[in-house]
């Protein structure tokens, strides 16, 4: 870990300006991802702007019947919130499928959205990795890629976005609300929040320098049955091989997003329109153009089978 300086911001605009105005500055929230990465010098910020004093830890109802989740609301608090459990159960289920109780107590909503990939080569500084060191190569493409992405990949990077909460937020059409360094605000639909690796895999998302997440807004509840099925190699405390976040209606229609398969939560609206035809049709469409490796091509079969299980449960 490199030595760094530290400050605690008093207001969102001040925090944003503090990061924007300084080369190598970063926000820190719960620190559960950033500190691990700093220990390995995968992240080496020279200055940390701690956002924990910003009063962004509330969950409030919005005028249109939705919810506004403060950026600092912990995963534990969000998952346990009565209205979330009742009307946005997919979100609760996704969150509690992630990490451990201790981590969820510390992890924040914004930090969770911004957690970095778990590609093992990204974590080993001896290995070439375009995400860690731009244009150094990608060790995973021809390597041990069992966990990695099958769709939306590029020849520069096949990493996944590893989180669970965001997959549910994508299915809920959540919107990320930010403050820019000049004090202005912006909203980013979840669909546009994470990006595909393309030629610049070192960029995980579409936030600008110093742009601070202040909240995530959920639209009014959409009803339906909510599912989050996370498939992994052990029964807890592991990242998804594939996960399915779904909201299914009695008429067979619904919404579905996949985790563990791409550099972002993977939801293809044209594919979910095929839900009444069953999992096969949805997955065929959603994974059109997929380019899996020999190690991870099972993920497409797994996505179909996991979705089929979810649909069967909705019917029973």
């Amino acid at each position: 870990m490199k030595a760094f300086t530290y400050e605690r911001a008093k207001s969102p605009a001040e925090a944003a300006a503090a990061v924007a105005g300084r080369e190598g500055a970063k926000f820190i929230a719960g620190g559960t991802n950033l500190l691990d990465l700093m220990k390995l010098e995968i992240e080496a910020p020279t200055h940390l702007v701690d956002v924990q004093d910003l009063a962004l830890d509330k969950i409030e109802e919005t005028n249109d019947g939705g919810l506004r989740i403060g950026a600092l609301v912990t995963n534990t608090a969000l998952a346990a919130h009565p209205k979330v459990r009742k009307d946005y159960a997919v979100l609760t289920r996704a969150i509690v499928a992630g990490a451990s109780g201790q981590l969820r107590n510390k992890a924040t909503t914004a930090g969770n959205l911004l957690q970095r990939t778990r590609c093992p080569y990204f974590y080993d500084p001896n290995m070439p990795c375009n995400k860690r060191v731009p244009n150094s190569g990608c060790a995973a493409a021809e390597g041990f890629s069992r966990q990695l992405a099958v769709v939306g990949t590029s020849d520069k990077c096949i990493a996944t976005y590893p989180g669970d909460m965001a997959i549910a937020m994508r299915v809920l059409d959540a919107v990320v609300e930010t403050v820019l360094p000049d004090g202005k605000t912006r909203t980013i639909p979840m669909a546009e929040f994470h990006r595909l690796p393309g030629d610049k895999p070192w960029l995980d998302n579409t936030l600008g320098k110093g742009e601070l997440i202040v909240s995530v807004r959920l639209p009014a509840p959409v009803g339906g049955q909510h599912f989050y099925h996370k498939v992994r190699d052990r029964r807890s405390y592991a990242f998804a091989l594939v996960s399915v976040a779904a909201i299914l209606n009695d008429d067979g229609s619904g919404r579905v997003a996949f985790g563990g398969v791409a550099h972002k939560p993977w939801r293809v609206e044209a594919a979910e329109a095929l839900l009444p035809q069953g999992a096969g049709a949805v997955v065929a469409k959603a994974f059109e153009g997929a380019s899996p490796t020999e190690h991870n091509k099972y993920k497409i079969t797994l996505a179909e089978r996991t979705l089929a299980g979810v649909i069967a449960e909705a019917r029973s």
């Binding site: 190699d233 099972y298 089929a308 299980g309």
Partner: protein, 728 residues
């Protein structure tokens, strides 16, 4: 004390303390955080500096340049030890891969530098400033590719005419199984604090085998062993990974010499998999030929594994095969390739643990082909009183059939549907599996000193280690029983090389050997007390803090403070016996018919392992081993990247051990079968038995649930997803 013949009736047959479930005497220290582990021994020596190990970024080749100037100039840095500037350290019989020094790199994450600084953070930050350039060499990293040319190790164990018997057997199984490399991944990483006083070196470390490691360190550093002290009273797990001296100890000693400061070093978690030792992968071919009755006529087991080019055996997965079943014609052989992967060395039940994953699944396959119950098949092939092919070697105690029968009853085995894939519970396919288990029960010389205070308090000193197994408690029980005092009148001091040399913790020999050594020392003390007070210490009764000798009664402390030392030495007669431990393991699984996720529902192990010294801690040993078996069967794998020659998933996020949610319900039953051939106490170890077989029981249960046989461990769902029932 010489143990020259099987034990007769003795005080342990009427024991009051030994054999009773006893809470760990070190438990309160452990759960309150007061038991100091090596890296936490802040008080043993002042002014400790921190070392940080730098691991090589290539698997094979040479360091062409190492620039340490920025690191040396970094804040807080006291010294940088750069391997290219130092002579390679020596080697010991216990280390194959080089530990430090010189420019050659023979495996990934080999220690190539060590930064010593005032704080841990400064050492870590400075280490990242070292720039190393390499000339990367060509290496060989793929066991599969080297299998066909791997030479045989030693002689094959043959009997009769295997080929002819196999060719003519009416029912045969011929299958190949593979098991991956595994890492011990103890919760406590390897860690050492080193300090020199003149030419005396003290290491506060985490080590299972104090006497071995003292000698090894002397050989590695070119010192006189008499000048080395090792102290390791508490370990946070070892599993064989800490049988040896590793880079943390070597570098702490070198860095302390260099700086004149005490230096503490922990092996960083991401280095452990590639820097230290691991259980090597295996490829195993099992051929079984049987008559229609189930009687095995041909038993073939060949195993291919590897080790580093310079030395070392492979993972000897055929170890159990000559002993477990009868069978007149045999071919059992080991092959060892030479690969440029990190060093392979013992991990919990080396050989047997992966060996059962093949043999015991092959037995299941044979049972199905014969249309026999797997337990009945094993019963038919139960050997007689002697080891098959060795009429002079009798089984000292062997109750495998009893284990299987009692286990079947307890587990509800009769409810298993022998036809696979038919039991459904909602979205789950449900199945049961079983496997037999065998693990040898070796013994080793073990010494102890027992001190008696005038108030009757007893203190035991031995360099035996407690790696989380419960050694403190069984040793206290043994001393309390023999000296006739309550448990809380006994203090146990372990892990210090200044104490008499014990058998140490490894190979499942620790419990049997070290308690026997303590017994020997207690007997010597009883005699000494008898001499002082004028009675025969062997004939007197020591109980309730008193000594009854003839018509006289003495308080234990009447002879005043004294101490005695002795060792148990195991006689040659033990070679006339096969002394082993046996188990029957059962498992029920539910496999998600959609996703292939395996949920273990319940597990049972019935163990035949001699007198059980402390059923409570023995049970902990077995459930721990069953849990490790879950990881072994379902998720643990050191993934090799054959391009770079390293284990890619070298942290606890990537290397997935079992978690609580994976092990909902586990039962352990001990038959409690005292074995007079093993020691005066008639007790054997159980810590490794528990990992010999449960993994195969899980595999067999998955087959019974799904009708899908996967022979490539771990049994992850990607290997059988496409064979699950079609979606409707």
């Amino acid at each position: 004390m010489k143990f020259d013949a099987p034990a007769g009736k003795n005080l342990f047959d009427n024991a009051r303390i030994v054999g009773k479930s006893t809470r760990r005497i070190d438990g309160p220290l452990k759960v309150t955080g007061a038991a100091p582990y090596a890296y936490e021994r802040h008080d043993v020596i002042p002014n400790q500096a921190y070392g940080w190990i730098v691991g090589a970024g290539i698997a094979k080749g040479r360091i062409t340049a190492m620039d340490t100037s920025d690191a040396e100039a970094a804040p807080g840095v006291i010294a940088v030890l750069a391997a290219p500037k130092m002579q390679p350290v020596g080697s010991s019989p216990f280390n194959y891969a080089p530990l430090f020094g010189g420019s050659d790199v023979t495996h990934y994450h080999q220690a190539i530098a060590c930064v010593v600084a005032e704080t841990y953070e400064e050492a870590r930050a400075a280490a990242a400033l070292i720039r190393t350039r390499y000339d990367r060499g060509e290496g060989t990293f793929d066991l599969k590719a080297k299998k066909s040319t791997a030479p045989m190790s030693g002689e094959p164990k043959t009997r009769g005419d295997f080929d002819a018997a196999f060719a003519s057997a009416p029912v045969t199984v011929d299958e190949t199984y593979s098991t991956p490399g595994e890492s011990h991944m103890s919760m406590e990483p390897h860690a050492t604090i080193a300090s020199w006083q003149g030419d005396q070196l003290t290491l506060w470390t985490s080590n299972q085998m104090i006497a071995w490691s003292k000698d090894a360190l002397a050989a590695i550093l070119g010192l006189d062993a008499a000048n080395i002290r090792l102290d390791s009273p508490y370990l946070g797990g070892g599993f064989g990974g800490k049988l040896w001296v590793r880079a943390d100890a070597v570098l702490a000693a070198l860095a302390s010499k260099e700086t004149g400061r005490a230096v503490k070093i922990v092996m960083q978690r991401p280095l452990i998999a590639n820097n230290t030792t691991h259980r090597q992968a295996t490829i195993q071919r099992v051929r079984l030929g049987a008559e229609k009755s189930g009687k095995i006529t041909a038993l073939g087991h060949e195993n291919w594994s590897y080790n580093v080019p310079s030395a070392g055996d492979g993972e000897t997965a055929t170890a159990q095969t000559p002993v477990l079943y009868a069978g007149d014609n045999r071919y059992v052989a080991e092959y060892c390739a030479r690969l440029d992967l990190p060093e392979g060395n013992a991990m919990r039940a080396p050989g047997e643990a992966p060996g059962h994953l093949a043999l015991e699944v092959a037995m299941d396959e044979l049972a199905e082909k014969l249309g026999m119950d797997p337990i009945a098949l094993r019963e038919v092939n139960e050997p007689g009183k002697t080891v098959p092919g060795q009429p002079d070697k009798q089984f000292s105690e062997r109750n495998l059939v009893r284990c299987m029968k009692e286990g079947a009853e307890l587990f509800g085995w009769s409810k298993r549907n022998a036809k696979p894939g038919l039991v459904r519970d909602g979205r789950y396919l449900v199945g049961m599996g079983m496997a037999a288990g065998f693990r040898g029960s070796p013994t080793m010389k073990s010494a102890a000193r027992v001190k008696l205070a005038a108030n009757g308090h007893v203190t035991v000193e031995t360099d035996m280690t407690d790696i989380g197994t419960g050694s403190y408690t069984i040793i206290a029980q043994t001393a309390a029983e023999t000296m006739g005092v309550p448990l809380d009148h006994v203090t146990v001091e372990l892990g210090d090389s200044a104490y008499p040399a014990s058998a140490g913790s490894g190979g499942q020999w620790g419990a049997a050997s070290s308690t026997a050594g303590v017994y020997a020392a207690c007997v010597a003390l009883r005699r000494k007390i008898g001499e002082a007070l004028g009675f025969d210490g062997d004939a007197a009764t020591f109980a309730d803090g008193k000594i009854v000798a003839g018509d006289k009664t003495h308080a234990l402390g009447d002879a005043g403070a004294m101490s005695a030392e002795d060792a148990i030495e195991f006689g040659k007669f033990q070679r006339d016996y096969n002394i082993g431990t046996y188990a029957a393991h059962f498992c029920e699984v539910a496999v998600d018919a959609y996703t292939g996720e395996t949920h273990i529902r319940r597990m049972l192990s019935v163990c035949d392992a001699g007198r059980i010294l402390n059923p409570l801690s023995a049970r902990s040993q077995v459930i721990g081993a069953m849990t490790m078996s879950v990881g072994m069967a379902l998720s643990e794998e050191l993934a090799v990247d054959p391009r770079f020659g390293f284990f890619v998933n070298h942290d606890l996020a990537g290397y997935e051990v079992a978690v609580h949610a994976d092990v909902p319900h586990q039962d352990v039953v001990f038959l409690d079968t005292p074995d007079p051939a093993i020691s005066p106490i008639k007790a054997k170890g159980v810590g490794e038995l528990g990992i010999c077989g449960p993994g195969a029981a899980i595999a067999n249960a998955i087959y019974n649930a799904t009708g899908i046989r996967v022979r490539d461990y771990p049994l992850t769902l990607d290997k059988y997803l496409d064979r699950l029932p079609a979606l409707v």
